[in-house]
């Protein structure tokens, strides 16, 4: 299955107020990171239905990143706590169905952490490169 030209397909679902702003700040600071991740913006990580993530894996995503505000900093008070709870639960589901739970990552990057966003990007890509293509890929089409 491992194809030499394989490039990881990673989707990041990120909140408008902290992580999306942090990602923009990384741009302003010209912090360079690997170009393998595509972002989808939501207002809050609380919006993220675990089914979105399962859908992404079903579609053949090699990794999914969820990134929001730090605890206590959520623009909507507690959406990130609720998202984190759901992600913990979802990680255990992934593990139980035989998908490495490292393919799903939740991070907390604030609007002022452009450098951290760059580090998260590099680290996620590195992790997924080590894991290789998702075993669900062959069901995707």
């Amino acid at each position: 299955m491992a194809d030499e030209n394989w490039k990881p397909k990673i989707i990041a679902i990120i909140c408008n107020w902290c992580s999306y702003a942090g990602a923009d700040l990384a741009g302003g600071a010209r912090i360079q990171y690997p170009p393998d991740i595509r972002a989808v913006r939501v207002m809050c990580t609380g919006r993220i239905d675990p089914l979105f993530i399962l859908k992404a894996f079903q579609d053949g995503a090699d990794g999914v990143l969820v990134s929001g505000c730090h605890f206590g900093d959520c623009h909507y008070l507690e959406g990130n706590y609720k998202a984190a709870k759901r992600m913990f639960l979802l990680k255990s589901v992934l593990k139980n169905i035989g998908l490495d739970d490292k393919r799903l990552r939740m991070t907390f990057v604030s609007a002022s952490e452009g450098a951290k966003w760059g580090m998260v990007m590099s680290d996620v890509v590195k992790t997924i490169n080590e894991l290789g293509p998702s075993p669900l890929k062959e069901f995707a089409r």
């Binding site: 107020w17 990602a23 859908k55 053949g60 604030s110």
Partner: protein, 672 residues
Amino acid sequence: MAEVKNKEARIGVFVCHCGTNIAGTIDIEAVKEYAKTIPNVVVADNYAYMCSTPGQNKIADAIKEQNLTGVVVAACTPRLHEPTFRNATAAGGLNPFRFEMANIRDQNSWVHMHQPVEATEKAKDAIRIAVAKASLLEDLVPKSVPVEKTAMVVGGGVGGMQAALDLANAGIKTYLVEKSPTIGGRMSQLDKTFPTLDCSQCILTPKMVDVYRNENIELLTYTEVEAVEGYIGNFDVTLRKKARGVLTPKEAEARGIVGGGCTGCGDCANVCPVIKPNPFELGMAPRKAIYIYHPQVSPLIYTVDFDACVKCGLCVEACGEKKAVDLEAQDEFMTVKVGTAILALGYDIYPIEKKFEWGYKNFDNVITSLEFERLICASGPTGGHLVRPSDGETPKKIAFVLCAGSRDNTDTGKPYCSRFCCMYSLKHAHQIIEKIPGAVPYIFYMDIRSFGKMYEEFYYRIQNEGAKFIRGRVANITEDPVTKNLHVNAEDTLLGRPIDMEVDMVVLAAAIQPSAETEKTRRLFGVSCSQDGWLLEAHPKLNPCGTTTAGVYLAGVCQGPKDIPDTVAQAEGAASAASIPIHRGEVELEPYFAQCIEEKCAGCGMCVYQCPYQALSLVEKDGRTVMQVTEAKCKGCGTCGGFCPGGAIWMQHFATPQIVAQIDAFLLGGEQ
């Protein structure tokens, strides 16, 4: 809530060069040609600056000519130009919410500058994802809500006072909330101000009186913000009025004490047997358990320090018929409704004893600049006579250590410039030359940053007055145990030689940091902070007074170090910004509300507990239980929509089919 059909979607894609910001990395032509092949795209175009008038006209014209149902602009970030392109979309006759942005600059060309091929592929994907969403976008109408015609300013320093005065003078009822018993803030602790050498109190106290007398300002001293609910136009702020133990004349009247209440005579403090250090004098002078900070406080009302009070009752006796002292007072809570709020939370001095190499708190004659201000101030603990704490002698040779803890990337310092230390240290040098015959100031500096109007001229003046400048950071300070003189060890980097200088006194121009209350208060108002704790403005250049929380604005040092003129200027800006929604009378909220898809709703009510704003409730409708959204309370986070087990919640503009379409477009669309 019918799901939007995308069969008739006609999308226009517009790719921006942003000069060379995007075009320098991404192959615009290739991206545009690719965009034409994406399903639903009927037109793709490109332009050097899409945000310019010709760029916006391209969008409006294409909407009309091509009968578009949705617009995608691939450019910078929606956080910058979403409003611009929504306006352009509306100018073309389309609902502005039928616009979606693909971020190909901030999150692409700028971060993949050396990978043009990969960046171009990423841009294609981003546009495909945006087109998928734009194909499913629906018409939305912003909700207009009325704005409460009152404002709140938190913090009663010079910035908060200025903001409150401006709002009040614009005819807006303003609550000015201050945690300490008096307004005035840090500025009231200063002796003179640079570069004009105005006496700080002389220019501040008239303002304090203005605030106290202004009938549009409700001054709430010794009061803290306890909770904040609501949104722009309609904040409910709960305040804790700390037990003061002393009644104002108004409060006394309310209790039926005729002609009673505190007149500020001070008879109570004269008899009080408890002595505590006065924090206003940084502990260098005493105060009683019933106290005022200094004679010019506003309001001139005494305060009981209940942690220190022994409840002997002598003050009650001394107060006599005025019956102002109430030793059984309790904290009181009140809730006020305000339309907008300004945070002017100020700063604290960095605990410079953490830089142990300079010996602050270990060596008697090492003091901070703020302590110097009190010691040189005519109304200070020494009546303006600068003395050495160790022996009360007048120092003749004084070293000033600049950037003490500022511009310091170690664990025990702050990376930023505290901005006003250079200037006040120059002023300190001037003051000792003026006041103490034969005294010589030695200023150890990294750079002298005299950036303001008439500041550089002031620097020259101090040089000519005889201050000595030594360019070098102080490595350490040691104390002579007998004389309590200090040895300053540094390197003169201009002469390239080490220095060991014996001085009588060292003044540390300590760094500043956000005030202790900043963290708690910013969280109550939902305002972000930058890494160093200063509050985050909405845009560093174009919106320095605003925050990402609509209706909350920033004034003064809480947003970043600044001197008095800059603080006052920002306060006036914040007051102007905060008055706009109030004068307009209504604001438009982004219509990202949750909606219940009633045929799917099972009425389980789990979403009700997910909502942080109590916006959801269960109602009976046609014989079954369904969820109902109170739009005025919904802020559009979507936490309910992320949770609903039945998929019965439609998040406007972030609806499940729209997000799933984005996921599918990336992973299943394009070249596999």
